[in-house]
Every structure is written in structure tokens, then in C-alpha cells.
Amino acid sequence: VSRAVRYGVVGGLMALLVGLGWAFNSELRQSRARKQHLARLPSFVARGLDGSSLRVPATTGRPVVIIYFEPDCDHCQRQASEVSRHADEFGRTQVFWLSKDSLPALRGFAQQYGLLRFPAMRVAQIRPAVAVTMHFFSVPDLRVYNADKQLVCRYKGETSAAALLKQLYGSL
């Protein structure tokens, strides 16, 4: 083997190791910063179903449940049925159904699962940049924040209303 090939293989391996190590370290720092950032509910603006701006959270001093979803996702549809069945129990909690999908699709979803019948429920569209900031990358993604906007827990995947309510009442 020529010296060039040998140095090439060893150098390539070293470069890969160093590169991966650097990428991992950088991702770890970002992940820690993200966790710190999301430990408290950031305030952001979404678009309500009528196209108007909607601030999240809408009011202060109330617990907040954020449900990131996609109207076409089976799990999100079952999640909507589950929450809708127990909607009255959410009481003073603000429940935000957030999605990047189009407003007509969100309106259809909200109507199909009767989410608009409950004053605690809001369905809104968010910009892709907000989804990135909130680190939404799978659906459904559920987060429970207490009245002080502190993250109480996060569930990835379908979650029972009982589990959400348990977290909420514990935080009230």
C-alpha cells in the first residue's frame, strides 16, 4: 500500500471521529439549551381558525396543555376523540391544538371532533419556525404547563385524558 493511501485511510478515520465528536458536543449543548428554553412555556403568536392572530398562552395564571398534531394522523384523531370526550374536565385549563397544516384542514379537524364546542379548546396554525423553536418533530406531542408556565411533563404519542388531568390537577 502506498504511503498516501495509508495516510488517507488513517486521516479519514481521524477526521470522521473528530467531526462526529464535535457534532455530538455541539448537539448536546443545543439539546441542553433547548430543554432549558422549553422548561418554561415561551410566548408566541399563532393563527386562529378565523385567520386572526392568537397569542399562546392566551391568558396568564392558568395551566396550559399544548397538543401538537396533524389532522391526517390516526393517532392525533384518536387523541382528539379522547380529549373531546373529557373536555369538560379540563375546566380552567387552556388547551391549544397546534399544527402547521392549512387552516381549512384545521377547521375540518376541529369540527369533526367537536373541539370548538368547548371554550377551553383552541385550534390554531403555527409557522414552521415556531415548530422548530418548540422542538415539535413527532405527532401527537403533548405538553402540560402549570399556571406559572413551568413544564410539568411531556408525552410523545397518544395519551389518555386521565394522564393529562392527573398532571394538571397535581400542578393546580
Partner: protein, 194 residues
């Protein structure tokens, strides 16, 4: 492969899912999850031999490249055979897992099954005490991994005809960095997804 399927059949059942997921999901949601699992289980079984075959190819290719760089000769088949033989040591933790959970500790959860890693650094710490990205390297750092390395060294020594010292050097300088890269890659993915 049959041992992996055996472990799944013996240790994972509907009751375990219901007991482990009851805190988050309703019965209906768990039942639906089980249905989806059953529907796609064939894919899981199909992936086992494919992934094992890929592992053998990859380990053999890494060792062969190391041999090419260090000895200026190209061999693949002896390294491929070595990778297959060494893999047998990885069956021992699966056997221990089956015995441990089916006979010694029958009250277990899905998380217990996922985190069980006998004779590794991971078994010395509580999973909740370490960050998620650190669990995988701690699981890899086990006596079985040491035995795997030893078997590869012996295999290289016997099948390729290298001395113990040269076989060790070859494995440490080729498989070692490759394993490090793999572990780093897995850690990177875990951190990105968390």
C-alpha cells in the same frame, strides 16, 4: 435469530403492554397500539437477519480494510467467518435475559426489558440517574463486548494466520475506532431526538 424471537415471545405479551402503558394511555389506545404492533411484527422479524447480515459485512469490511492498510493484503472471507463466530457471544446476554425475567424476576415492565444489560457498566447505575445519551455507551461497555473482541482477535489469529500481537493490533486499530464512531453516532441521534 430464533433466540431473539424466542425472547420476544416469552417475555413480551399483551399484559405487559397494558401494565407498562396504563399510566399514559387508555385501554383502547393500548389495544390499538398492540394491533399495529401485530400488523407490523413480520417486518421486525424480517429485519433481524437483514441487520445481522449487514453487521457481519460491516465488521468484516472494517477488519479487511485494517488488514489491507497494515499488511498490504486483501482478505474478506476469513474476517466474515470471524464476525459470524464472534456474534455467538452476544447470544449469552439474551439467554440471561430470558432466564432473569421469566424465572428470577417475573414482575417486570417494558422499561426493565429495554434497560436490562447484564455485566455492563449500565447495570452499575440506575437508569434515571444517567442522561439518556449516556445509557447506550454504558450498555456497550460490557464483559460480553470484551469477550466479542477476544473472539475476533482469536478468529483473526486462527483464520488469517496472524500472531496474537498482530491480530490484537489489527482489531484495536480497525474495529476499535469503528465501534467508537458507531457509539458516537448513536449518542448523536439520541441527543438530537431528545
Amino acid at each position: 435469530m430464533s433466540l431473539i424471537i424466542c425472547a420476544k415471545v416469552l417475555l413480551v405479551n399483551d399484559e405487559l403492554y397494558f401494565a407498562s402503558l396504563a399510566g399514559q394511555m387508555t385501554e383502547e389506545q393500548i389495544r390499538h397500539t398492540l394491533e399495529i404492533n401485530r400488523e407490523w411484527s413480520w417486518l421486525g422479524y424480517l429485519l433481524i437477519p437483514v441487520l445481522l447480515f449487514l453487521k457481519f459485512i460491516l465488521v468484516a469490511a472494517i477488519l479487511a480494510t485494517g488488514y489491507y492498510v497494515l499488511a498490504n493484503r486483501w482478505e474478506f472471507n476469513p474476517f466474515f467467518r470471524t464476525a459470524i463466530i464472534a456474534e455467538f457471544v452476544m447470544l449469552v446476554p439474551i439467554i440471561i435475559k430470558i432466564i432473569w425475567f421469566s424465572l428470577l424476576h417475573p414482575a417486570y415492565s417494558l422499561a426493565d426489558l429495554q434497560e436490562f444489560s447484564p455485566l455492563s457498566l449500565s447495570s452499575l447505575v440506575k437508569p434515571a440517574e444517567v442522561e439518556s445519551w449516556l445509557r447506550y455507551p454504558l450498555q456497550v461497555a460490557s464483559l460480553f463486548e470484551v469477550a466479542y473482541w477476544l473472539l475476533i482477535i482469536v478468529g483473526v489469529q486462527q483464520l488469517v494466520g496472524l500472531s496474537w500481537g498482530r491480530a490484537t493490533r489489527l482489531v484495536v486499530l480497525s474495529y476499535g475506532p469503528a465501534l467508537l464512531i458507531w457509539v458516537l453516532l448513536v449518542m448523536f441521534v439520541i441527543v438530537s431526538a431528545s
